[in-house]
Symmetry: C3
Subunit: 153 residues, 3 copies
Amino acid sequence: MNVYQKLESLGIAFSEPAIPAASYVHFVRSGNLVFLSGHLAKKNAKIWVGRLGNGVTTAQGAQAARAIAVDLLGTMHEAIGDLNSLSRIVKLTSMVNSTTEFSEQHLVANGASELLVEVFGDKGLHARSAFGVAQLPLGACVEIELIVEARPV
Amino acid sequence: MNVYQKLESLGIAFSEPAIPAASYVHFVRSGNLVFLSGHLAKKNAKIWVGRLGNGVTTAQGAQAARAIAVDLLGTMHEAIGDLNSLSRIVKLTSMVNSTTEFSEQHLVANGASELLVEVFGDKGLHARSAFGVAQLPLGACVEIELIVEARPV
Amino acid sequence: MNVYQKLESLGIAFSEPAIPAASYVHFVRSGNLVFLSGHLAKKNAKIWVGRLGNGVTTAQGAQAARAIAVDLLGTMHEAIGDLNSLSRIVKLTSMVNSTTEFSEQHLVANGASELLVEVFGDKGLHARSAFGVAQLPLGACVEIELIVEARPV
């Protein structure tokens, strides 16, 4: 089963990434590595605002992380043309908008990690860091950036 | 116009990076990638202390980010010898010293992003993450790290 | 003196990394680069809980960072098989669980940076970023991630 069939079987549809509002881009490829910009959590195409530990639960944070992972699929598709040519998800970094008491950033990040493994299998297994930040752009509850490896062109 | 002429036309002069105070260096090259250390915002050669959302405005934060980008140019020059041999600004990460209310980290980061595009044109377009941190070394208002790609040696 | 003799002379013994609890791994290699996951500070095999600026001193934070560096050695050993084939410590990122007043994240990070230079000499010198985060997974006081370069296989 190729990746797009897998996505269909999982009921996952990604859309085209929005055009960045500033002097940056969604991704840059260097050699076989593709560096993806930090993507903010969205719900119904709007920024998913909130803070873990204060109104946003761990389960909701994991859903937000999963939603970001779907958006990241869209960016990866744009970056490498064919998701079947992805060699590996290399590194995921998860910034979680957190109170000073909330310490389940790893469980929030799981929402994205698990989606990537569902879609890509062992190629989806990645190195990872997760930590709690004071605040995120536009008040988003989670931001995730990614490094992936693509097949040599 | 080469990069140094461009810098002159923009009125931008960078100085030599200070020697790191500890067991680390300003940059490490691996293959064509150069990883630059997090650089702290400075004003008149001193750490630019402050917090966004509490005394430092978004416009000031963007100026601080721009000042860091100039310092990063100095480090890039030292790293690759000739800024004209830079292939691409790959990834910029902007850590913004933020109150829990301040959510314009992306506008702060624009100060650095825009400078890089002014200087390098399309090669200056980069992937990017920006987030708010609880505090930074020496109380700096902004810290920025960079990954760039240089021409093969 | 090879790296293992050096470790013995320094009285440093690392243990095997624990198996990750979720859909991620301790490291991913891509070309010559190895990306190591964020490792949380541990003391007596348990998470080293606490916050810099509120009960954990800078010196204790540096000890925690050093302890993480030892754990990272274990992961590097697993990743590249022989620590003597490490070409370079490339980049270290240190996330320090900080109050909004604590601004010595760089001194905390030194605990890890210095250990790496003790063990690897000039190959241990790395690019680095350090910043204060609102909170870390499981309440850990410090988290460190690493990018290293290994000899081509």
